[in-house]
């Protein structure tokens, strides 16, 4: 289990980005973090992957304190992180990046199966460079594919729906549902997408750096949808 305890994050450009956030991500479960933009969701994902070190609080992976652990060591321990904004690389093609993700040479058949999950054909993409010649949506799908190639136990997706077309998104939902079936895999997805919220086991709402609601999908989702319509204040305050 991945457990965050009382995580607080202050950055030079913003104080109290996160305040006393606690949550657990369990194997065999899909947890979705949602909430208004700027609320601290991506910062939380970066803390899990090791890109940020929390100002206070602890992170435990299978009861081991990994709060100070490096990005690399966390990756080796089984944490994978799909960036919200994919990274481009001049001279590195999709095949190489996927092989790095897989920890060694990857068969074309396996690459084909993984890329298919994000709506891409390996034959068309494996030799293409990860640079500006790919569209934003293609980059995003390959970013997700690299994380799927890790075969990690704890997977964090930061807004996987962004930039993805409707048809590929359906494949992606199927990929998430398939990952959910694996009792050894814990999924954490940051998303605003209703279709992703609908397949969640747990939903955590973060507003203004704090957990405002959390619980099972049946507990949180109906209220979330209601709030999403009339009289909705993104900060959870009463309307004038």
């Amino acid at each position: 289990m991945l457990k965050l305890e009382n995580i607080t994050l202050n950055l030079p450009e913003k104080e109290n980005l996160l305040r006393n956030v606690s949550l657990s991500v369990k194997p065999g479960k899909l947890t979705v973090i949602t909430g208004p933009n700027g609320g601290g969701k991506t910062s939380l994902a970066k803390i899990i992957a090791g890109l940020y070190v929390p100002t206070s609080g602890f992170i435990y992976l299978d009861e081991e304190d990994i709060t100070e652990m490096s990005i690399t060591d966390r990756a080796k321990k089984g944490i994978a992180y799909a960036f919200q904004q994919p990274v481009s690389f001049k001279g590195i093609n999709v095949k190489t990046l996927m092989s790095i993700a897989a920890g060694g040479d990857m068969s074309e058949m396996r690459m084909c199966r993984i890329l298919e999950k994000v709506g891409l054909c390996a034959r068309d993409y494996m030799n293409r460079e990860m640079d500006s010649h790919l569209s934003g949506g293609e980059m995003k799908r390959i970013e997700i594919a690299t994380v799927l190639a890790r075969g990690a136990k704890y997977i964090v997706f930061d807004e996987p729906e962004a930039g993805i077309d409707l048809w590929s998104f359906t494949s992606l939902i199927q990929a998430f549902e398939s990952l959910k079936e694996d009792d050894d895999v814990a999924l954490l997805i940051i998303s605003h997408q209703e279709r992703i919220l609908k397949i969640a086991d747990e939903i955590v709402v973060i507003r203004d750096g704090v957990v405002s609601e959390s619980g099972t999908k049946d507990q949180v989702f109906p209220a979330l949808m209601k709030n999403n319509t009339d009289n909705y204040c993104p900060k959870g305050k009463e309307m004038f």
Binding site: A49, T72, F89, K90, G91, I92, L97, I100, A101
Partner: protein, 306 residues
């Protein structure tokens, strides 16, 4: 053959003990062996060091090797190689040079290559330069390239220098006639106190000729690289140049790309970027399990196409 020559050949070509087809092997300033093929004839120059390589139109997807190896200190090699490629020929030329020094005296190799590509011929030119050895003597490689491309001819040049060469000055000039294409991919990495200077000048004089010049360089340590290019569009033509450089440590790069259009129908584009490795690239690879050092190596190797 010198053991060091064997080592250099493995590095700069795909040599596995024997060259099949036409080749000319140069060692410490002398041609030590050569071989013709049915369609490629190599003739030693009478008036100066070097060879003429005559490639007939019957040469289709053949490869000719012309590596040069300097295996010891105090060798100063100057060679003139001319390639005469007949109309319709389709060949790969594997050149490349390695300089090894093991004493305080330096060694250098200056290869002056001229390409004469007749109408519709196609040449892929691969050139890899390396410097090796423990000696303090400088390892210097100064290639000079001149290319004339007749109507519809295509010259693809892939040049790679991955370090160990203390100084290099590279000078490439080309003239492109109607529908001719020149594609150049240059990759250079320098480290320590090494210096590299690269100069390109391409004249597009024939309608619908085109050039694509891509230069990628990595300057590490205290090394310095200087890049200049001039793409001259004198008619309806297309020119694209892209020079990107990565700085590591105290490495320095000066880039001066120039586009000169003297026809309203010349279409010339330039892209350039110099900077350190993007932090997000390193972090992304670290999230895939690489250490920071491994990530940096992979990024540089990919960038240079090494």
């Amino acid at each position: 053959m010198d053991k060091i020559t064997e080592e250099i050949l493995r590095e700069i070509t795909d040599w596995d003990g024997v060259f099949s087809g036409a080749y000319s092997l140069r060692e410490n300033g002398e041609c030590i062996s050569f071989q013709n093929s049915d369609h490629i004839r190599i003739v030693k120059k009478e008036d100066k060091p070097g060879i003429d390589i005559y490639i007939s139109d019957k040469a289709q997807q053949e490869t000719v090797y012309i590596p040069a190896c300097v295996t010891k200190s105090d060798v100063h090699d100057l060679v003139y190689n001319d390639f005469h490629v007949q109309s319709g020929a389709d060949v790969t030329i594997v050149a490349g040079c390695g300089v090894h020094t093991d004493a305080e005296e330096g060694s250098n190799h200056n290869g002056i290559h001229r390409f004469f590509l007749e109408r519709g011929s196609h040449v892929v030119y691969k050139e890899k330069h390396i410097g090796i050895g423990e000696g303090g003597g400088k390892r210097v490689i100064d290639p000079v390239t001149y290319a004339e491309l007749d109507d519809g001819a295509v010259l693809e040049m892939e040049t790679l220098q991955l370090g160990g060469v203390n100084e290099t000055t590279r000078d490439t000039t080309a003239i492109l006639k109607k529908n001719a294409s020149l594609i150049i991919h240059e990759s250079i990495m320098t480290d320590n106190d090494e210096t590299a200077s690269t100069k390109f000048s391409v004249d597009m004089v024939g309608e619908d000729s085109n050039v694509d010049l891509i230069s990628r360089s990595v300057a590490k340590g205290n090394s310095f690289q200087e890049y200049s290019s001039a793409i001259n569009g004198k008619c309806r033509c297309k020119g694209h140049s892209e020079c990107d450089a990565i700085l590591v440590g105290n490495g320095r790069v000066n880039a001066s790309p120039a586009l000169n259009a003297s026809s309203i129908d010349a279409n010339l584009i330039h892209e350039a970027a110099i900077g350190k490795i993007a932090g997000e690239q390193i972090i992304k690879l670290m999230t895939l399990g690489l250490t920071e050092e491994e990530a940096e190596e992979r990024i540089i190797a990919g960038f240079l196409g090494a």
